[in-house]
């Protein structure tokens, strides 16, 4: 009998370790693409519910001029209880609370999308380029990211807004520019693995220069977890805007949910609806964002959903 030598087919054997996972992985690999992503996303009841909540808030914000019964700045008799004229009552200045809530959704959504988009754009680029280049640049930059991430963000934002002003666009920019290091860190981790893949190595060997490789190959392939994180950042931006407005640091030329709470908090005893209703609006939007974010994460990270029946 001849004694054959060893041929260690390590990769194959590891797969066998949990071949169910392997088969699932195979099925997933076949089903790439946006359509499959959407299908798997929509298969989750929680995620669909989240989408619905977001839809309600977005529709109210988009059609605010048509839906809102009053001009949100118009002054009526102050501190009215909810009734047929003012479904959610009026605030201490006599502004209709329902109309303020409908219009206020615009500010919250502007923060959600504006700040998260800015953070996404800056974070992706600032994570991808140093991560791709590596070396000293990357070392120094990662240190900077770590430093930035430990700073108490809300305190910094309050300080900036108090010193430099509370204009809507400015505050959105401040928020985006304080949130991006988180995205950069996620992107960088992605880049470190993508860099080693065949198609990137092939592009390098073919003499393609770094920037086209980063933008054409590295970023598109590493984007998924950053996008999942973006839904959380949207929620953070909404919450922070509400907090700032609640503290009296909102843009005085806009109407926002936090400002309604700020104006109404002293009247919680007499007109509780002023306080209850804007909070419900914030909750609706945040819950929608969290449910959608959770759904996206589950689709992107199958390990969390595997075995769920």
């Amino acid at each position: 009998m001849s004694v054959p030598v060893f041929v260690a087919d390590e990769a194959a054997a590891r797969l066998d370790d949990e071949h169910v996972a392997a088969m699932e992985g195979l099925r997933r690999a076949r089903a790439v693409g946006v359509r499959a992503f959407v299908a798997r996303f929509l298969a989750q009841p929680f995620a669909v519910a989240g989408l619905l909540l977001l839809g309600i808030v977005a529709a109210a914000a988009v059609f605010a001029p048509l839906i809102a019964p009053y001009d949100p700045f118009a002054l009526n008799p102050p501190l009215q209880q909810p009734g047929p004229a003012h479904w959610l009552g009026t605030d201490p200045l006599g502004r209709d609370v329902l109309s303020q809530i409908i219009w206020g959704g615009r500010v919250s959504l502007a923060f959600a999308f504006g700040a998260a988009a800015l953070s996404l754009a800056v974070g992706v680029v600032m994570g991808a380029i140093p991560g791709y280049l590596g070396g000293v640049v990357d070392d120094v930059f990662s240190r900077f990211l770590d430093t930035f991430l430990v700073i108490p963000r809300l305190f910094l934002i309050i300080l900036i807004v108090a010193l430099l002003g509370s204009n809507l666009l400015f505050v959105i920019a401040v928020m985006g520019l304080t949130m991006w290091p988180q995205n950069a860190k996620i992107m960088r981790a992605q880049v470190l693995t993508i860099k080693k893949r065949g198609y990137v190595q092939a592009a390098i060997a073919a003499g393609v220069s770094p920037l086209p490789i980063i933008f054409r190959h590295v970023i598109p392939n590493g984007l998924a977890p950053v996008i999942a994180n973006s839904t959380l950042q949207m929620a953070y931006a909404v919450l922070t805007e509400a907090g700032l407005s609640f503290l009296g640091l909102g843009d005085p030329n806009q109407t926002s949910w936090g400002q309604i709470l700020n104006a109404g908090q002293s009247y919680v005893r007499s007109v509780p609806w002023i306080v209850i209703s804007p909070g419900l609006a914030i909750m609706t939007l945040l819950l929608g964002l969290h449910l959608v974010g959770d759904g996206v994460t589950r689709v992107l990270n199958p390990r969390l959903s595997l075995g769920r029946e």
Partner: protein, 320 residues
């Protein structure tokens, strides 16, 4: 171990330097006179002029930065005109109230959150687990200042069980058990708000990490050896699963301080967060910058303590 700790302490220096530089730049970016910004809104002209000399605000920018860092290094965070006292004194006076609130809310949040998360993971996948997920996601969606207002509405306005704001009653005894009880009554609502705010973080984290750990090979080994499910869970899984909870407890301190800021504002709790709010109202910039610096320093120190604790819990971490 000692060398590791020392190295971590040294790492604070560049971070604090960075924060100080941010403060410095903000003063100069602010519209108008930096001396006026440094003085705060109510300060009289003489005081502004005195500051201009003290901080050398007529000197070149780099020299100004040097002077600013020099004063910070001496523990001088500036002078608050609205309180007529050095900023550091005002902050030190407010710190205990904040720490009390943080401990009273975070210890139960860590304990209950971890237990609930572990319980949920043990029943994964099931209706119970889904319910826990739904509840924790909903709690994430509640702004803390709003839950604070609702707590006031229910427990102070409608039920009249607990006081709505402050830390003491005027009529309460000024010492002994009576005083402690009085403080506890005042703390009940703000601590609950902060507890509910932090709870879902620990639930979600522990749940995810227990689910992950229960799939590890060493759990299969433990089962194969013949340990009962509860031994497998408590002895072999939970200890591994708690490691990330420790890290997050440390890292989330800045998030807890942010929650405390809003809670203290709602409940008029005389802590550092409330001080920040008062600083905003009075445009007392030295106070705002001081609170920002002190909060950052606390977050950094707790970060180091967390790392050291982690290192003693996880044998894989080497001190080098």
């Amino acid at each position: 171990m000692r060398r590791y700790a020392l190295r971590r302490v040294v790492q604070i220096v560049p971070v604090m330097l960075f924060i100080a530089v941010v403060n410095f730049l903000l003063i100069h970016l602010a519209p108008g006179d930096p001396a006026a910004a440094l003085a705060g809104e109510d300060a009289p002209q003489e005081f502004i002029e005195a500051l201009r000399v003290d901080y050398g605000l007529d000197k070149p920018l780099l020299q100004q930065l040097g002077t600013y860092l020099g004063t910070l290094l001496q523990g001088d965070l500036g002078y608050s005109f609205s309180y007529r006292r050095p900023v550091i004194e005002v902050i030190v006076e407010r710190l205990p109230a904040t720490m009390l609130l943080v401990f009273a809310s975070q210890i139960p949040a860590i304990v209950f959150g971890t237990l609930l998360g572990a319980y949920s993971a043990r029943h994964y996948p099931s209706k119970i687990d889904n319910a826990v997920t739904a509840v924790s996601l909903s709690l994430y969606a509640v702004p803390i200042f709003w839950s604070g207002l609702l707590l006031i509405l229910v427990f102070a306005v409608w039920l009249r069980w607990l006081p709505a704001s402050g830390m003491y009653s005027l009529a309460a005894p000024s010492e002994g058990i009576g005083r402690l009880f009085d403080i506890a009554r005042h703390m009940a609502l703000p601590a609950t708000a902060l507890f509910l705010y932090s709870l879902p973080t620990y639930v979600r984290l522990t749940r995810a990490s227990v689910i992950e750990i229960m799939r590890e090979d060493f759990i299969t080994t433990a089962r194969a050896i013949g340990y009962s499910e509860s031994v497998v869970f408590f002895r072999h899984a939970l200890r591994n699963a708690l490691l990330p909870a420790v890290t997050v407890a440390g890292l989330s301190l800045s998030f807890v301080f942010a929650g405390a800021l809003l809670t203290e504002t709602v409940f008029g709790w005389p802590g550092m967060g409330r001080l920040m709010y008062e600083g905003v109202l009075k445009r007392d910039y030295p106070v705002l910058m001081g609170v920002f610096l002190v909060t950052s320093a606390l977050v950094l120190v707790v970060g180091i303590l967390t790392d050291l604790l982690y290192a003693t819990l996880d044998p894989r971490v080497s001190y080098e």
